[in-house]
């Protein structure tokens, strides 16, 4: 009986140890990967590819981000209106919507939406390039695959995320106006006055800092998953690409929420 218990304890610790080592190894690999990609942003012949990626990650995501922003603002308008009515402070609707959007919901939801749309695309595309030996082909042609494939995506994300967050915030505030003012009858002047007076540059800057960091996190995780999909042990070929895409989106979303907490605790 004692031998069984001690074996179980050893197994548990070895499992925890193995998971920790793998996690630390992956974190180290991602850090090196990001550093290499970041350094390569400033190499020659990058401009065209960066613009392409800004178009794909930024411009092509703007519609979906604005749509989500609009409905988030509208739902916030509804929910907060009925909550504030209970306390007789409907006039604070503009403040509540703008602050929650700019500080939290804008950066987080934008990052999650882009992770789902562009991040999954990055992981799948790079994964396909990897399994069809196109990444190796780039290397044999003297083209650094990290420079050509990863760096433009990372810098494009770092540029696009804050811009899309700004769109999200703006459309979200307008969404709150639609429900709070036009539908439920709050005073329009009060709504916009509250938005203007309660938002400070600190809030806006904090939101943008989050968006910048989320951009780097999402692009790095998604590119990393795609780039190393051939080294997965849980699947090969097209299945590995599928699994890499799933991991990219899930890890991005979880990391965004964890990072959000950490950044917020530093900013507050």
């Amino acid at each position: 009986m004692q031998i069984h218990i001690s074996n179980a304890i050893v197994s548990l610790f070895s499992f925890i140890g193995a998971v920790t080592l793998r996690l630390l190894g992956n974190l180290g690999a991602i850090a090196v990967f990001f550093s290499l990609a970041f350094v390569n942003i400033f190499r020659r012949k990058q401009f065209r590819e960066i613009v392409n990626q800004i178009f794909y990650i930024g411009a092509r995501s703007s519609l979906i981000v604005m749509l989500v922003g609009l409905f988030t603002g509208m739902v916030l308008g509804l929910q907060l209106f009925y909550t504030l009515v209970k306390f007789g402070s409907v006039g604070a609707l503009g403040s509540a919507i703008s602050l929650s959007l700019v500080r939290e919901m804008g950066p987080v939801l934008t990052a999650i939406m882009i992770a789902a749309r562009a991040g999954s695309g990055m992981a799948a595309e790079i994964g396909m390039l990897r399994i069809s030996e196109q990444v190796d082909a780039l290397y044999t042609m003297g083209v650094d695959p990290v420079r050509y494939l990863i760096s433009p995506r990372i810098i494009a994300s770092i540029i696009s995320f804050p811009l899309l967050t700004a769109f999200f915030d703006l459309i979200g505030i307008l969404g709150g106006y639609l429900t709070g003012v036009l539908l439920l009858g709050t005073n329009a002047g009060t709504y916009f006055y509250r938005v203007e007076s309660s938002l400070s540059m600190v809030d806006i800057r904090g939101g943008f800092i989050k968006a910048l960091i989320f951009g780097a996190i999402v692009s790095c995780i998604c590119c990393f998953q795609g780039y190393f999909c051939h080294m997965r042990t849980d699947g090969y070929g097209a299945r590995a690409v599928g699994l890499a895409t799933v991991s990219a989106v899930v890890l991005s979303c979880v990391t965004i929420l964890i990072a959000d907490y950490v950044i917020t605790s530093f900013l507050m």
């Binding site: 196109q134 190796d136 082909a137 290397y139 042609m141």
Partner: protein, 418 residues
């Protein structure tokens, strides 16, 4: 004599994937300005070896020496310069599938040179034209056939005028005409651009005619390294097994060896024979003209097929080997056989043809084409001695000069023999 320094050397290179050792203490030398062909059974590590040369894989043990300097001791910038001299043609082409043919071919120039747009396009188009791809210039790889994709990959590999080109099965998926075109193009460009070609190929014996050196990979190690002539002289079981596999390369029509395989067999026989005094040859030919006139070309095809089958059945057991050398001529070599003995063999064969084969030939022809018209079959044969200096064409000439009719068959609708 000054010893030539190898361009690339493998010293005790070992590579493992998990438990499996793919390369096991491989030692080999690759010399500049030559075509070196690596042959070996599937899964013996040929592609792995090639990927070590360009640095896509790194050895677990051992050293790769590039132009006299170990790669693992080179600075990153030094290795980058070395690597820029190498181009690689992937087995599965590895074309960038989101780019058109033109963009694929121009890609290495766009990314690694400072040439202007016009010059890049000019150079890319030149290669594209040379590889007969001009009509596919704006197509994507997925819109092309396997053969065309291979040629695009070849154009991309050659567009930067590399000093070393690694070809991983360049003729896979090509029709025989294109296969010949690619192999001759490799030799042509090698001469023109002066690059060193390292090629993996299963196209035995075709590659022997363009290769300066052959490396046989066997069970993860180098089984043979040297020229083709050296290979055929050696009596190693492993090499024999390779050359025996040539028997698979048969003339589809007659079931005989292809001309290339015949030449390889012939060279191997001369290489392995101390004296060639006792080698003879017989040239069989069939008069097909009357048959053509009466029954059309298909009858001739059937007759040739049947004749090939009988030649094989009669002469293979005694060590002979045969191939069709023109439309209607079959050359058979009899090793260790004097001219007199060969004449006797041919006479016996003629008897067999008269009594058995020719009837069957007729029945095959009629059954296949449903014909009931009369036609004539003349089979001629000539026997000649073979000397060690004789080329195959010379043997044919000698035997043709001695040809006479050995079997005649005049068939009516009932197939009456005369």
């Amino acid at each position: 004599m000054v010893m030539e320094t190898p361009l690339i050397e493998f010293k005790n290179v070992t590579k493992r994937f998990g438990e499996k050792t793919v390369l096991d203490k491989v030692n080999l030398s690759i010399y500049g300005n030559r075509i070196t062909t690596i042959i070996g059974k599937s899964g013996t590590g040929k592609s792995v070896l090639l990927k070590h040369i360009i640095g896509l894989l790194k050895p677990d043990e051992g050293t790769i020496i590039f132009q006299g300097k170990p790669v693992n001791k080179m600075k990153k910038s030094e290795w980058k310069v070395c690597r820029s001299q190498i181009a690689y043609l992937f087995q599965n082409n590895a074309l960038l599938d989101s780019m058109t043919v033109l963009d694929n071919v121009a890609f290495p120039l766009r990314q690694t040179t400072n040439l202007n747009r016009k010059e890049i396009e000019k150079r890319a188009l030149k290669r594209i034209e040379e590889l007969e791809l001009i009509e596919a210039i704006h197509k994507f790889p997925s819109e092309l056939s396997g053969g065309m994709q291979k040629r695009v990959a070849l154009a991309r590999a050659l567009v930067t005028d590399p000093k070393i080109v690694l070809f991983d099965e360049p003729t896979t998926g090509q029709d025989p005409i294109r296969k010949n075109m690619i192999l001759s193009m490799i030799t042509h460009y090698r001469r023109k651009l002066g690059f060193t070609a390292i090629m993996i190929s299963h196209d035995i014996p075709d590659v022997f005619f363009i290769s300066d050196r052959i490396i046989i990979l066997w069970e993860g190690t180098v089984g043979f390294e040297g020229t083709y002539e050296e290979a055929v002289k050696l009596k190693l079981p492993m090499i024999d097994e390779f050359f025996r596999s040539l028997e698979g390369f048969q003339d589809e029509l007659t079931g005989l060896l292809s001309r290339e395989a015949f030449k390889v067999h012939y060279a191997a026989m001369l290489g392995g024979t101390a004296t060639v005094a006792a080698v003879s040859a017989a040239l069989f030919s069939v008069r097909l003209d009357l048959m053509h006139e009466a029954l059309g070309p298909q009858a001739a095809v059937e007759v040739l097929r049947a004749l090939g089958e009988y030649t094989n059945r009669r002469f293979n057991p005694i060590g002979g080997f045969s191939a069709r050398h023109s439309r209607d001529e079959i050359l058979t070599i009899f090793p260790h056989t004097s001219v007199d003995k060969a004449r006797q063999l041919v006479a016996d064969f003629a008897q067999e043809l008269k009594h058995e084969a020719i009837d069957r030939i007729q029945s095959i022809a009629i059954a296949k084409i449903g014909a009931a018209t009369s036609f004539d079959i003349y089979i001629r044969a000539g026997v000649a001695g073979v000397s060690s200096t004789d080329a195959v064409d010379q043997i044919i000439e000698k035997a043709r000069a001695k040809q006479e009719i050995v079997a005649t068959h005049r068939c009516g609708s009932g197939g009456n023999e005369q």
